[in-house]
């Protein structure tokens, strides 16, 4: 049970303000989710470069010398950018897989938050304002982003239980609601070799979408089939490298408000989250229909 915010910028001149706007939206949703917060930012990309965002409970120990150790392993340049408990590793696109495997050996305590050319995910336990401050989200720029504040229902309040979940390269998902068949679905996906780390229902939703896409579905098709295969109450907001999508379950009880102007498309669990956006008074504001996939692309 949670608060969701999302912002997809059409107007490139606003990109430097993305982090500031998203932080404000995220903090407004504190009441809906005081346990943990997270944000996915689609920022700069460099040609043939990918990013791995990792988190550590002991960043001083883990990140120190990580660059050197990793460069030795992948035999290439690695750029290390540390942000509190998180670090973004930038490296050649074709070295991502070997780097990921190498990380498991080099720093088994590190948790991979996200992998993608553009995507960086930051999430931690704690109040949204503290999480936003810790990662200096306000200073981040990008083309679109998704934030989440969590009130844990059944699974643990941990960093790994926080949203957004990375569902595949440059893909992420946040969720508000409670899935009622996630245990069986987790078992099924695990039997099919899908790696699921937590007992969190949303991670299953995210893994489901990834699995669908790995088996040939587009994101839109995967979302469509989620309406059939996932039971329970959900509002999902998803991000891709150049896109932004929303889907609600057929019952659609959990709140969702969207706003669109010439400059942006915004999502909030409540209208409150949107009130500081520029031109909101004149925006087209509506609630997404149940069982309907919405998608925007750059």
């Amino acid at each position: 049970m949670c608060g969701i915010v999302g912002l997809f910028l059409k107007d490139k001149t606003m990109e430097t303000q993305l982090g500031a706007m998203l932080s404000d939206m995220l903090i407004t949703m504190t009441d809906r989710g005081p346990d943990s917060a997270g944000i996915a930012i689609y920022g700069d990309t460099a040609e043939n470069t990918s990013k791995i965002t990792v988190q550590s409970d002991t960043p001083d120990m883990d990140f120190n010398s990580l660059k050197i150790d990793l460069e030795k392993q992948v035999k290439g340049d690695v750029n290390l950018r540390v942000q509190s408990t998180h670090a973004v590793l930038e490296l050649a696109l074709d070295q991502v897989n070997s780097a990921r495997l190498a990380l498991e050996d080099l720093r088994p305590n590190l948790r991979v938050m996200s992998i993608g050319e553009s995507l960086e995910i930051y999430k931690e336990v704690g109040l949204p304002k503290n999480v936003a401050a810790r990662f200096e989200i306000k200073r981040m720029s990008g083309s679109h982003g998704i934030g989440h504040t969590r009130m844990a229902t059944e699974s643990a309040v941990t960093t790994m239980g926080a949203h957004p979940f990375n569902t595949g390269s440059d893909q992420c998902l946040v969720h508000n609601g409670s899935l009622s068949n996630h245990n069986s679905l987790r078992r099924k996906l695990r039997r099919d070799g899908v790696h699921i780390q937590t007992e969190n229902d949303t991670e299953v939703g995210a893994a489901y979408l990834t699995w669908k896409m790995q088996n040939g579905s587009s994101l839109g098709e995967a979302l469509e089939s989620s309406l059939k295969d996932l039971d329970g109450f959900f509002t999902f907001v998803v991000g891709t490298k150049d896109g932004f999508g929303v889907v609600r379950d057929p019952i659609a009880c959990k709140p969702a408000v969207m706003a669109e102007t010439e400059q942006y498309v915004a999502f909030g669990s409540e209208y409150r989250a949107l009130v500081n956006l520029p031109g909101i008074e004149q925006a087209r504001v509506w609630e997404p229909e149940p069982a309907t996939v919405y998608f925007w692309k750059h």
Binding site: M1, D31, R32, M151, T153, N176, F233, C253, K254, P255
Partner: protein
Amino acid sequence: MNNNDSGIPRTTPRQSATFTQDINSEIRRAAATGIYDIRGGGAKRKLPTFDDLLFLGASISRYPLEGYREKCDTNVTIGGLNAANPIHLDIPITIAGMSFGALSGPAKEALGRGASEAGTSTTTGDGGMTPEERGHSSKLVYQYLPSRYGMNANDLRKADAIEIVVGQGAKPGGGGMLLGQKISDRVAQMRNLPKGIDQRSACRHPDWTGPDDLEIKILELREITGWKVPIYVKVAGARPYYDTTLAIKAGADAIVLDGMQGGTAATQDVFIEHVGQPTLAIVRPAVKALQDLGMHRKVQLILSGGIRTGADVAKAMALGADAVAIGTAALIALGDNDPKWETDYNKLGTTAGAYDDWHEGQDPAGITTQDPELMKRFDPIEGGRRLRNYLKVMTLEAQTIARACGKNHLHNLEPEDLVALTLEAAAMAQVPLAGTDWWPGKSGLF
């Protein structure tokens, strides 16, 4: 050839333990009617209960208190966390929510009279607040239910506390039912329904879902009532750890936790017997949730579902509850299922003690009915006196146990005062099996 003449011993007819007479008669009933069995009351199946726990008492290592002479307090304050006017009760035994509609007006009046004389609260139910119960209840908890029958701000402001009902032990995940026989003119008017229809209440609240929305609903109710009265949240004993945690996070001042022995006016028998957890099993996870959030004794836990005696009260409190609520037991105290109406029960095809068709409105005791003739059988003043007596006895019993354990307040009973008679009870209550220092799962999660 006739077996009797053959001289060969005959096998005694053997009833199936799977297809019992009960089951077979239900199959025949379902086949004949095409509708599931609807009834009142709580689970009738055998369940692990507080009866499987015993108090240790005091001797040389602990010192008992003298009955009648040395004080053993029983008072409890509910809802002091956010409310300007928390509820102060003399005894930790409250009357659970039962609707006007399910019960007659005089029965609601009697509950108010008895509870007030004993220094405790009573609770409305689905269907709104009646002048009878408000007038005769010194402390009245107003239930805020999914159906919102009879809900209005005036009554809300007359309440001493508001209880947001999310679930009920008899039917976690289900709504209430009131069949046409009991939708009298007055009930129909209060609920704004056509007379005589079979009414089904909603299972979810119409304007919120989940703890994030509940937090906002609680804010609205506090704003309407000026932050004066406590807000309780009632949940069925289904996932007590999570539900208690989330109710606290949403801002509840008290949690009412109802086990599967808890009664209902009417719902599907399959719901009553097959959904939920026994009251014994739900206390410790709920108390753990309160403790994990540092809210034990700040947010009160009111336990209900099959509480019958002062021993049950003492055991609930030893496991960490702050108070209990009784429903079925209060109705029996008023005279429900009394053998003096045996002839009438027989006419209905049942017997005293087994009568559970509360929804049909033909209650021989005149309590769970809207029939004016049957209602005349019940005297609210006499009923109130009987309830008062019963509440006093339960309190004395609980005090007797507490004193024997050396406690000057019921709240000082603790799990270490208990042992369990069975492995099930030991596991569920997380107290040692008698004669050992062990219970199943002791090194586990809790």
